[in-house]
């Protein structure tokens, strides 16, 4: 480096290092992409012969020819739906409060922020334990029901919803609020009429990602009896239930090969559901980005 000359070309060794590093990085990305494709291919290879609407309409069974995921799909929709109804409003309101109303950073608000950050990092299975101790048994004693499971998943995704909603709210230009306040609006009017509507695409994107995380999560509900054999759809918050990930888990642990294929088919169904959710989230974000750039 000491004998730097503008006219000199790169030494072959540096050029080689540069090229091979680029190759290494590209390889890593390509390998990551291929891994996803390979997983999907393997699942498909193990289950394409099973693909029919029976998988969606039939119920769990001990007979591999008569198995479907209907109760698991409805169970997942119930549990994740109720969990979203609980956590999205609370999460978005909390985010609005922290961003718009909490005032200057002080001990209290920074303690609350740290707490939320840490909650987002608590292992999922620990939320199952608090659900077991307080909701399914203990003070509430709701048993192993849709209600208990929803509360557990809601607690799990609440910190994630708060974090993504805050980011979306922070992305709204401060001039919006300043303009509203200058025209005599109260803080709440500025938030409700301007900041909230303009951050909705961002909030929606983050919320969908949080909800799809809840839909793919299996660990906390292992502790809440969701691995059971349920041959009916949930009818309410007090119903027994099973969910897609744990139905897959159950068939995967069966020693018979036929059930392994069924587990693969179930995985594909779950992946299709989650990819669709993710795709919606990504498109929404693209839309929001384009809108904000104009």
């Amino acid at each position: 480096m000491s004998t730097l000359s503008l006219a000199s070309k790169l030494s072959p060794i540096r050029k080689l290092k540069d090229g091979s590093f680029r190759l290494f990085l590209t390889f890593s990305i390509v390998a990551t992409l291929s891994f996803i494709l390979f997983v999907v291919y393997t699942l498909w290879n193990d289950s394409y012969f099973l693909m029919s609407s029976d998988l969606l309409t039939k119920f769990p069974s001990n007979d591999p020819d008569d198995v479907g995921f209907q109760s698991a799909i409805f169970g997942s929709i119930w549990v994740v739906g109720v969990a979203s109804l609980l956590s999205l409003p609370i999460g978005i309101l909390t985010a609005l409060y922290l961003e718009e109303f909490a005032g200057k950073r002080n001990r209290l608000t920074s303690a609350i922020e740290t707490n939320i950050q840490n909650l987002a990092g608590v292992p999922a299975v620990v939320f199952g334990m608090i659900g077991l101790a307080f909701v399914a048994r203990g003070p509430l004693s709701w048993g192993f029901t849709v209600g208990s499971a929803s509360v557990v998943l809601a607690m799990m995704i609440l910190p994630v919803v708060i974090i993504v909603a805050r980011e979306a709210i922070r992305a709204v230009p401060p001039s919006y609020r300043d303009g509203a306040l200058a025209l005599g609006a109260t803080n709440w009017q500025a938030v409700y009429r301007l900041i909230l509507p303009s951050s909705i695409p961002g909030i929606a994107t983050g919320s969908i990602l949080a909800v799809s995380r809840a839909m793919g999560e299996s660990a906390p509900l292992l502790l809440l009896g969701a691995l059971s054999f349920v041959t009916f759809n949930p009818t309410g918050l007090d119903s027994q239930f099973t969910i897609m990930p744990l139905a897959i888990f159950k068939y995967a642990s069966d020693s018979r090969d036929e059930f392994h294929y069924i587990a693969s088919a179930g995985s594909l169904i779950l992946i299709v559901i989650l990819f669709t959710l993710n795709l919606i989230a990504i498109l929404l974000r693209d839309y929001a980005n384009r809108k904000s750039r104009v």
């Binding site: 540069d18 590093f21 699942l43 990092g121 334990m129 608090i130 109260t186 409700y192 793919g216």
Partner: protein, 324 residues
């Protein structure tokens, strides 16, 4: 935002200052507006209380059973055999701890190089268009449910890779190696996205200074950008570590549920998290020893991940302050 708060008290003050018989008291409309704001703010504040309640709930659910069990078993937790649900029960935590660390270390060996490569690629090599394509891929990878990775580990990695090519020991269908690899895939997107955030926020001027000195792109990426963003890279690794630590389903499906004290990654092992899942399936009655064991292991798991998350988030906060 303080302007708004100030606004509220202002209205009240003007209200009391009546002059020349014309009431300057806030109109009914204005008062209603302010009331709405007060109610709304209080409802929103209640949301933050919920998060505090959840944390308190976690701590209060973990501590009593843990203390109770610890007072029963005392120093038995330092033993080398873990079989709390058997008769007679054994409570040596060592196999769970080694099992956890073996799997987490293998996971880090996958997640760190691939995750950092992805982060460097995104921050310094990818064009805007490529970035728009690669970012969603990482998000999709992050969105693959753990149970699917567990299934892939159990049906593909264990029988077709570990059993065939791992040279040491006899394969039994479950392996810590398979679980570690799958957990690595799981945590790769975390390393990539946190590190990418850090590396992308390294000021452009530092890169350009590097190029101006005649450095190649690799030299700028590895010697300038990487070093400037190192705290973010460390945070990425710590957060991924914490995530791998708490991963339950993959370890349970791929590494099995036999808490073997072994240093051979080809062996089945049990992690702290997968023990909780395993014992939870068994539906332990409240106040039984099995029930308390779940909470003992859970308390340990919570404590360790808490420490890692605190450190990781603190580092992120610091580099954000430096560059923003």
């Amino acid at each position: 935002m303080e302007v708004g708060m100030y606004d509220l008290s202002q209205t009240d003050r003007t209200g009391s200052a009546t002059a020349e018989g014309v009431s300057l008291a806030p109109s009914a409309h204005l008062r209603r507006r302010n009331l709405v704001q007060k109610i709304a703010v209080n409802i929103m504040r209640a949301g933050t209380v919920v998060t505090v309640v959840i944390t308190a709930g976690i701590i209060f659910s973990l501590i009593p059973p843990t203390i109770q069990l610890l007072s029963e078993i005392g120093t038995q937790i330092f033993g080398t055999s873990w079989a709390p649900l058997f008769i007679p029960p054994e409570f040596g935590l060592l196999p769970l701890i080694t099992g956890t660390f073996v799997i987490v270390l293998i996971a880090m060996m996958v997640a760190i190089p691939f995750g950092l490569a992805a982060a460097l690629f995104l921050s310094d090599y990818a064009s805007y268009q490529t970035r728009r394509f690669v970012k969603p891929i990482l998000e999709i990878l992050a969105g693959i449910p753990t149970v699917v990775l567990g299934l892939f580990g159990l049906y593909f990695v264990n029988p077709k890779l570990v059993e065939k090519y791992w040279p040491i020991g006899e394969s039994v269908g479950y392996s810590a190696l398979g679980a570690g690899l799958m957990t690595g895939i799981l945590t790769l997107p975390i390393v990539a996205s946190v590190a990418d955030d850090a590396l992308s926020s390294v000021p452009r001027a530092m890169r350009e200074a590097g190029y101006a000195l005649g450095a190649t792109r690799r030299e700028v990426a590895t010697k300038v950008v990487f070093n400037a963003g190192i705290s973010g890279v460390v945070a990425a690794v710590i957060l991924a570590f914490a995530r791998a630590f708490g991963e339950t389903t993959v370890a349970l499906m791929v590494a099995g549920s036999y808490p073997k004290l072994s240093g051979n990654p080809g062996d089945p092992m049990q992690t702290m998290a997968s023990f909780i899942g395993f014992a939870g399936i068994g539906d332990q009655p409240t106040d039984s020893t099995g029930y308390r064991t779940i909470f003992l292991v859970g308390a340990l798991l919570f404590l360790i991940t808490l420490v890692f998350n605190l450190i990781g988030n603190r580092i992120i906060l610091r580099y954000r302050e430096v560059y923003e």
